[in-house]
């Protein structure tokens, strides 16, 4: 086969994407596509893994066995999501070790939302309802991302996510139908989680550095602002049903646009948290480091056992 020039290869690559075909690990790809995907998929994986921390904080204090089993299963799912995504990132030529390394040394980012603390049981409800709810909106879009292994991981993840959101909503509903104090707890959790949830969709489109390439390459199929609006439109009626209110005095239905208008997002806070100054950044990373170090004997034991078996077989 004659050698294709860089230009021809790029054109071919783009054509494939435009025809709604998928790029697979061994296919030729633009280097920046590979790099951007490694960054995005690994950030996503880290978020699943770090995201277990705020929730696992409440596993031992869940109010009853039903809630405990549900929360435990959810947190276990998130570990699974992390694994699917690390595997997808690895197909792009980065090792698991490097990926973990980037997380534990603070080099890699993960979703900002997990740098906020879970102060009460109602926060577990708010996370499932809002944080998983926001994640689902993003992940549904990514099910058709152009990179095959990423898209397939997303399909699997989306199948599992709906239970996460429902268990969160059910917790909120139970609290809202409970005593005055319980309802106040639910409202307080909503007050603290609402704005950070909106920030999960990332900066407004005009300030989003990676969006345009990723849109061209069919990874980001909808803009940050559109996804955010979709989330708000879906979630406000749910809050109405619960009988609690979003902490936003500018939030109101706009008959003309058929969307909710909402107030100004505090991007100052977003940048503060993302650059390491959120309430729990340090705590999260040190918890991951500790988990990694405490788990070393398990990894060593597994390797030793496998070795012993190999020697016996030989």
């Amino acid at each position: 086969m004659p050698e294709l020039s860089q230009q021809e290869l790029e054109a071919r690559f783009q054509k494939k994407i435009d025809e709604n075909l998928y790029i697979e690990p061994k296919d030729w790809m633009i280097d920046k596509y590979r790099q951007n995907l490694i960054r995005q998929i690994s950030q996503h994986a880290h978020s699943e893994v770090v995201g277990m921390l705020p929730e696992s904080n409440w596993i031992t204090r869940a109010p009853n066995l039903r809630r405990k089993a549900g929360l435990l299963a959810k947190v276990q799912d998130e570990a699974g999501h992390g694994l699917y995504l690390y595997s997808a990132a690895e197909t792009l030529g980065i090792s698991r070790e490097e990926l973990l390394d980037q997380l534990l040394t603070g080099k890699a980012k993960y979703s900002n939302i997990f740098n906020y603390p879970t102060l009460t049981w109602a926060d577990i409800g708010a996370i499932g309802w809002l944080v998983d709810g926001a994640a689902i909106i993003n992940q549904v879009m990514l099910q058709r991302a152009s990179y095959g292994p990423y898209a397939r991981a997303m399909i699997r993840i989306c199948r599992e996510e709906s239970f996460h959101q429902r268990q969160g909503f059910e917790i909120m509903l139970t609290l809202c139908r409970g005593t005055t104090e319980q309802k106040a707890m639910a409202q307080d959790a909503l007050n603290r989680w609402w704005w950070p949830s909106l920030m999960m969709f990332g900066p407004s489109d005009k300030d989003s550095p990676h969006s345009s390439d990723m849109a061209k390459w069919r990874v980001k199929r909808e803009s940050n602002d559109d996804l955010r609006q979709k989330f708000i439109d879906r979630t406000v009626p749910q809050a109405d049903f619960l009988g609690i209110t979003m902490p936003d005095k500018d939030l109101k239905w706009n008959e003309a646009t058929q969307h909710y208008d909402f107030g100004e997002i505090n991007w100052e806070e977003f940048h503060q948290v993302i650059s390491g100054h959120g309430p729990c950044n340090r705590e999260r990373i040190s918890a991951r480091i500790k988990a990694h170090e405490d788990g070393k004997w398990v990894r060593d034991a597994a390797a030793a056992y496998a070795n012993k078996k190999r020697q016996k077989a030989a």
């Binding site: 030729w28 276990q76 595997s87 534990l104 040394t105 990694h292 496998a306």
Partner: protein
């Protein structure tokens, strides 16, 4: 909140990873129901086949997605190269006579 935070270490070697090899990669295939073909589900790292099976079970079949699992060392999978997709599959392209619709059966003939 924990009393004492583990300090964040900047140096990779301090992270106790010298011996932290990743273990071999295994590709996971799952049969969803008896009689169905095995389908690729993803991959896991594991030190041996037995643990690869257990990891695959925990990662890919938490909701009865399977009745049986295969794990295969990723290094033993031989794949066709995407660049050759044209020439590699080319022999089948012009053989319409491999399809039932190539053959005429008069109207009224049944069960064929």
């Amino acid at each position: 909140m924990p009393q004492q935070l583990t300090p964040i270490k900047k140096d990779r070697k301090q992270l106790d990873m010298e011996q932290d090899n990743q273990w071999p990669l295994w590709e996971v295939f799952i049969q969803s129901k008896s009689g169905q073909p095995y389908k690729h589900a993803g991959s896991v790292h594991a030190p041996d086949g037995e643990m690869a099976l257990e990891n695959a079970r925990d990662v890919y079949t938490r909701r009865n997605e399977g009745t049986s699992i295969w794990v295969v060392p990723a290094q033993y999978i031989i794949a066709s190269t995407p660049e050759e997709v044209g020439s590699f599959f080319d022999p089948a392209n012009d053989k319409v006579y491999r399809h039932p619709t190539f053959y005429t059966v008069p109207e009224g003939v049944k069960y064929i």
